[in-house]
Amino acid sequence: MRKHTLETLLKEGLITGDQQSFLSRIYDKSVFSLYYELRTMLYFGVLLFTAGIGILVYRNIDTIGHQAIIAGLAGLAAIAFRYAAKRRPPYSHRETESPGSLYEYVLLGACLLFATIVGYIQYQYGIFGTRWELSALIPAVVFLYIAYAFDHRGVLALGIAGLASWLGLTVSPAELMKQGIFSSEAVIFNGLVFGIVICGVAFVLDRFGIKKHFTFTALTLGSNVLFVACLAGLFTLGMSLLFFPLLMLCCAGGIIFARREQSFLFLLLSCVYGYIGVTYFLSDVLVEAFGIFFYFIVSCGIIIYFIFNYKTFLAKR
C-alpha cells in the first residue's frame, strides 16, 4: 500500500486522520506485529515436541527410563491443564475472546500429551483389554468436552478426527484416498454414518446458536468424509440408486450452505465431488474418446457459465 494511496483516501474523506496515521505506521513498519510468527513457533514447537515424544516413548518402552518418561509427561500435562484452566473464559454459547496464543497452544499440547499417555497405558498395561480402540475413543470424547469447555477450535478438530479414527476412518482426504478405504463395506457405512452425524449435529447446534464458530470446522471435516464415503459406495458397492442421490443431496446441501454463509470452500467441495460422481455415473454411456471430450467441454462449460454469470445467485441476498 503506497503512502499516497492512504493520503488519497483521507482526502476523499473515506478514512479519518487517525486511521490514516495508524495505517501508515503499520505499512512503514513502525508498528510490527509478530503475531503470526509467534503462533507459527508455538505450532511448530508442539508439532516437533509431540513427534519426538511419540517416538521416544515407544523406542524406550522396555528400558528403565520409560516409567520416568510417562510420569514426566503426565506431570507436564497436568501443569499445562492447570495453566489453561486458570485462564479459561467462562462458558458462553458465543465465541469468547481468547486469553492468548500461548493459552491456545498450551491447551493443545496438553491434549496431545494426554492422548499419548492414554495410548501408552493401553499398550503397556492393556487397560482396555482387547477393546484397544477405546484408546482412540476416550481421548476423542475428552477433546470434544475440552473444546466446548475451553472454546478451542483446534481441539474440536482433533476430537472429531479422533472420532473418525475410532471408526477406522480419517478426516484427511489425502489419506482417505491412500488407505484403500474403498474396499470395505463396513468402513463405507461407517463413513456415511460419521459424516451424517457430525454434519447433523453441527447444523442442529448452529441452529440453536451454540458455538456457531465451531460449525464451519465440524462441517468441513464431516462433509469431506461423507462425500468420499458416497463416492466410495458408488465406485465399489454399486448401489447407484442409494449413493448417487445421496451424493447429489450432499452437493445441493453444500451449495446452499456455501451461498448462505458465503463460504465457497463448500461450493468447491460440492462441485468437485459431485462432478466426479456424475462422471462416474455416466461412464457407461461415455465410451469413446470423442464423446468423453465433448462431455468435458459441455459439462464444464455449463458449470463455468453458471458461476460466471450468476454471481448474483451466489452472492448474499
Binding site: I15, L47, A136, F308
Partner: protein, 391 residues
C-alpha cells in the same frame, strides 16, 4: 506490457485491502462499504475458492477441447504431433488474450488455466521438436533455454506468480544444469553457485522492489525473493547437498557416510535459519522471519543424518521444546509493545484465520486411522503427524 489495466487493478486492490482493515477492526463496516462503493471496478475477480472451482473445471474443459482437436487432426508422426502442439499452443495465447480482455478477467481461475495449459503445450512441443531434431536425443540445458523466454513472457504479461516461479527455476536451471553435467571438480561447486545465485537474486529484487514502474509485478517479485531465500538455504542444507550429490553421481551414500566439506554444510544448515531470523527482526521483514522459521524446522528434520551427534527423536523433542519456550518468553517479553514490536494481531492477513488453523491441526496433529488389526504400538496415536515408531 502487462495485459491488465493497472488503474482498475489498483482500485480493486485498495478495496481488498480495506476489507482486511475492516476485518481487523481498524475501520467500521459502513466506512468499508463506502470505500468499496467508491472503488468498484468492472473486473471479474472472484474469491479464492471460486477461483479454484473455475480453474479446475476450465482445465477439464480445455482437456476436452484440445482432445477433440488432436482427435480430428490425428497426427501420425511424432514430429507432426510436436509441431501441432506448438501451433495449438500458440493459437491458444491469442484466444487467451481475447478472453481476458473482453471478459475483464483478473485472476479468475479461467485465464490461469488457459495460460498454464497454453504454456505447457507450446513449451512441450518446442522441446519435443528439439529432441526430435537432434539424434541421439540430448537433454541437458537446451530445453531449459528454450522454455525460458515463453515463461518470462507469461510471467510478465499476466503477472502470474506460478509462472514467475517457473521462470525463476528455469533460469536457475540454465546455469546449474551445465554445471552439474561437467567434471567432478566443477560439479562440487554446485551448492555454492546455487547459494550465490539465491543471494544475488534476493538482493537484486530487494533493490528494485520499491520502484514505481515495477508495482504491477510486486507479488511476482515477492515470489522471487521467497524462492531466492529457499535456494540459498537449500544450497547450504546438508541433506539436499548429500542426496543431490548422490543422485547426480548415481549411487547411494551409505548411512553415516559423509560428503566432502560435510562440516561446512552442517554449519550452514544450522546457521542460515538463524541469520534469516536475526536479519528479519533487524529490518522488520515478515518474509525473512517466516522463511527462517520454516528453515529452522527443516534444519531440525535434517538431523536424521547427524545421528552421530544426537538421536533424531531427541533432537525433535528438544527443538520442539526450545521453539515453544522461545515463543513463550517472547510473548512474555512483548506483553507491552517494545520499539514497535507487538504480539497483538494488528492487521489480519488473508486466509490465515482460526478456521484454517483448526483444519491444519486436524490434518497434521491428528491421529492416524485405526487399521482393522491391532496396531503394533498404542492405538489412537495423536500428535506429530501420526508418527509411528519407525523413522
Amino acid at each position: 506490457m502487462i495485459i491488465y489495466d493497472m488503474r482498475l487493478v489498483e482500485k480493486l486492490q485498495v478495496a481488498r485491502e480495506a476489507k482486511q482493515w475492516r476485518n481487523s477492526g481498524i475501520i467500521p463496516s459502513n466506512q468499508y462499504d463506502a470505500i468499496k462503493a467508491a472503488y468498484t471496478t468492472p473486473l471479474y475477480s472472484p474469491t479464492l475458492f471460486i477461483r479454484i472451482v473455475l480453474f479446475v473445471f476450465a482445465c477439464i474443459a480445455l482437456a476436452g477441447v484440445y482432445g477433440i482437436v488432436f482427435l480430428i487432426v490425428s497426427p501420425d508422426h511424432d514430429t507432426t504431433f510436436a509441431a501441432l502442439l506448438v501451433v495449438v499452443g500458440g493459437l491458444s495465447f491469442f484466444v487467451l488474450e481475447r478472453v481476458v480482455k473482453t471478459r475483464q478477467l483478473y485472476k479468475a481461475g479461467i485465464e490461469e488455466a488457459m495460460l498454464y495449459v497454453a504454456l505447457f503445450l507450446t513449451i512441450a512441443g518446442i522441446v519435443w521438436l528439439y529432441l526430435e531434431a537432434t539424434s541421439p536425443p540430448r537433454t541437458g540445458v537446451v530445453p531449459w533455454i528454450l522454455a525460458l523466454p515463453l515463461l518470462i513472457w507469461g510471467a510478465v504479461r499476466f503477472a502470474d506468480r506460478l509462472v514467475t516461479a517457473g521462470a525463476y527455476i528455469c533460469a536457475l536451471a540454465v546455469v546449474l544444469v551445465p554445471l552439474s553435467e561437467s567434471g567432478p571438480v566443477t560439479r562440487s561447486l554446485l551448492p555454492f553457485v546455487a547459494m550465490l545465485l539465491g543471494l544475488g537474486s534476493y538482493f537484486l529484487v530487494r533493490k528494485y522492489s520499491g520502484k514505481k514502474f515495477l508495482e504491477p509485478w510486486k507479488d511476482c517479485l515477492f515470489v522471487i525473493k521467497m524462492l531466492s531465500l529457499a535456494v540459498l538455504y537449500c544450497g547450504g542444507n546438508y541433506f539436499v547437498v548429500r542426496e543431490g550429490n548422490a543422485a547426480l553421481m548415481g549411487y547411494e551414500i551409505p548411512e553415516g557416510g559423509n560428503i566432502p566439506f560435510a562440516f561446512l554444510f552442517y554449519i550452514l544448515t544450522a546457521l542460515i535459519p538463524v541469520a534469516y531470523i536475526v536479519r528479519g527482526l533487524m529490518i522488520r521483514d515478515h518474509l525473512l522471519l517466516r522463511t527462517g522459521l520454516i528453515a529452522a524446522v527443516v534444519s531440525v528434520l535434517t538431523f536424521r543424518y547427524y545421528f552421530h551427534v544426537v538421536a533424531p527423536e531427541v533432537a525433535l523433542t528438544i527443538a520442539g521444546a526450545v521453539m515453544f519456550l522461545a515463543a513463550m518468553f517472547s510473548l512474555r517479553f512483548l506483553k507491552t509493545d517494545r520499539n514497535g514490536f507487538t504480539h497483538r494481531n494488528i492487521l489480519k492477513e488473508k486466509l490465515k484465520d482460526l478456521n484454517a488453523e483448526g483444519l491444519l491441526i486436524s490434518q497434521t496433529l491428528g491421529p492416524a486411522p485405526q487399521p482393522a488389526a491391532k496396531p503394533p504400538q498404542g492405538g489412537g496415536e495423536f500428535g506429530g503427524g501420526g508418527t509411528t515408531g519407525s523413522w
